[in-house]
Amino acid sequence: MKLPDLTELALRNLRESLLRNSLTTVGISVGVASLVAMLSLGIGLQQLASRRLVKSGLFDTVVVTSRRDLRNFNRDDERNGAPAPAESRMLSEASRQEIERLPGVLEAYPDIRFATEMRFEDKPHLTMVSALPASAKSNDAFEGMQGTFFSSDTAAEAILQKSFAEELLGKTPRPGTDEVNVAQLAPPLLGKELTMRYAQREESLSPQPVPKPFDASANAFGSMGAAYSVVSRDQKLKIVGIADLDPESMRGPTRAKVFLPLKLAESLHVMQPTDLREISSAAGGQPVYSSLSVRVKNPSQVQTIEDAVKKMGFNTFSILDATRSLRQFFAVLDLFLGIFGSLALAVASIGIVNTLVMAILERRREIGIMKAIGASDGDVKKLFFAEAGAMGILGGIVGVALGWAIGQVINFATNIYLKRQALPPEHFWAVPWWLVVFAVLFAFLVSLVSGLYPAGRAARLDPVQALRYE
């Protein structure tokens, strides 16, 4: 029998026992809906997480550290027989230039990062400070920023992270309470002055007036010839911006709350933790950095550049490493959600088997007649397959619509909740087109498999007995 005839007869048969077949199809729909709902939740959450990471602006950044550094992000390197930390290279100015010359690298700038005291309205606040290059202006992290970016790379200006701004205003939220909108923080802070107290490194040769001298040349390091003094200094900074997002979310506990222009920060010669090491080793008078931020032209090149830098003997870390485990997590999550979603479909497939077996009993005589007038076993089999398949496709389509609707409702309800919490709406429920196609195809396949046994049974029916059956 040809496909159009088969389809026509199958649909006609489905219409004959409308209630029963509809109920079976509803069963498939519910199964598909649960599958679609589960998977779209998984996909939606993944997209949400990725979106958040993109906003963090570090998809195109690779952080390079020396293997000597205690902050080693890739513990695997140690196990895989990488050189012992003490023997590996220092992150000197020469290596910075070497990295900057790698193809695909936009810039490599030193991370200037130090903990220091900020005075605001005569109250001291201890915080982490880091320097940003002028290129950071285009960083997505500053999208929702109040105020402006640094007017120049040397300007005595500062951008505050939202949580530090809250601290300055004494508005630190307790956990569980509503978050403060960044726009409310801007008016009392923008344009105000902040005083940074910091330890300046000074070559002991330069005769500077020293308020509180600490003479490093007096101790054993002095013999290396790189002696210097540490001087306490004040720097006045104008608050120009307050960032809503955390531009350094991937740095964990060492992330900074106050940002300075890079050139300004460099000119201050702030004492850094690595300075001590610089003295202990012969770095040839070059500056040594604790870490470099490498900006890459295209996020797709991150892996290549990471590999190249690793070959040079440094540690690297990028958001790609973070998302790798994230993607792994979501793959497992999707798998579990998919399995739970499929359970309902499995139950529905038993419904198909049941319905078709019932149909065989009911239509026994009809099958006998069809065989008597020339239907082959294959014709009968195909007819039952077509009925199962039609229920599958129909149930699949209805189920996808149902799953989508469930997602919309939950999305809507959650966004009402988010709005009440004064949070921006989020779209964490996504039904991509491939999921629609996959779900319908999957339902079709499952129903065909369910039809396997009934169709085989119908095809094997003995026509003589079937015709005798009243």
Partner: protein, 255 residues
């Protein structure tokens, strides 16, 4: 298709031959020999009545000839083809193209119109749609049901339903018409109408007719040969001169 003569003569070639045909069923512990060593020969264009009481095995023989059932042993050969050697698929094709069947209970599919019922064998034969409709309409007109082709079987009388079944049996132009008590569910007047139609097919189209019946008078009136069965065995095989004149009322009734 025009009638060459009023009374068709068996043209001598063998249509159906059974040789030591056996069909046994296990019914509980006992073995039922529904057909027990039957050897008969039916020539092309012959009108044969298979007679016997219920349980004599006459329907079993018909099912074996129809290819709906397979013999336990022995052989059924139809137009030189040994049905016992055909695969299931080949048997289906044989039923589709070489056999037309009519049953006592009509066996129409209730959910289809009679046009669709008649068309169904053509669907299995994968005939193109326009040709299918054309052929089915012609067949229904031939049995006098042209104006009612969009009715469902339940909307028709028993006689009309049996005519539909006849139209369906004809649709693939088979050489063999197998009828199992075709008038069993009909009153005598409609029964006569149906029998006249069958005789017409036999004479005008040269179809071989094998009719199972327990009504001896019916057989005597229409069949050229009567085969009596009892307990699955041949009891008597004799030729018969049927009442030759077709009922005039029917001829007027046909379009």
């Amino acid at each position: 298709m025009a009638a060459s003569s009023l009374i068709s003569q068996p043209n001598g070639s063998v249509a159906v031959r059974t040789e030591n045909l056996q069909r046994h069923y296990a019914m509980g512990d006992s073995l039922i020999r529904a057909v027990n060593g039957l050897s008969i020969e039916i020539r092309s264009s012959e009108f044969v009545a298979l007679l016997g009481t219920s349980g004599s095995g006459k329907s079993s023989v018909l099912n074996l000839i129809a290819g709906l059932d397979r013999p336990t042993s022995g052989s059924v050969t139809v137009h030189g083809k040994n049905l016992a050697q055909l695969s299931r698929e080949e048997l289906a094709r044989y039923r589709r193209h070489s056999v037309g069947m009519v049953f006592q209970s009509f066996n129409l599919i209730a959910t289809m119109t009679i046009l669709e019922n008649v068309e169904l064998p053509l669907r299995f034969a994968e005939v193109e749609r326009p040709q299918r409709a054309q052929q089915s309409r012609e067949a229904l007109e031939r049995v006098g049901l042209g104006p009612r082709m969009n009715h469902r079987p339940s909307q028709l009388s028993g006689g009309e339903q049996q005519r539909t079944a006849l139209a369906r049996a004809l649709i693939n132009r088979p050489q063999l018409l197998l009828a199992d008590e075709p008038t069993g569910n009909l009153d005598s007047r409609t029964g006569t109408e149906i029998m006249d139609l069958i005789r017409e097919f036999n004479r005008q189209l040269g179809m071989t007719v094998i009719m199972v019946t327990h009504e001896r008078t019916l057989a005597e009136r229409y069949a050229q040969r009567m085969i009596f069965l009892a307990d699955g065995e041949l009891v008597e095989d004799r030729s018969n001169i049927p009442a030759a004149v077709p009922t005039p009322a029917l001829q007027g009734g046909l379009p």
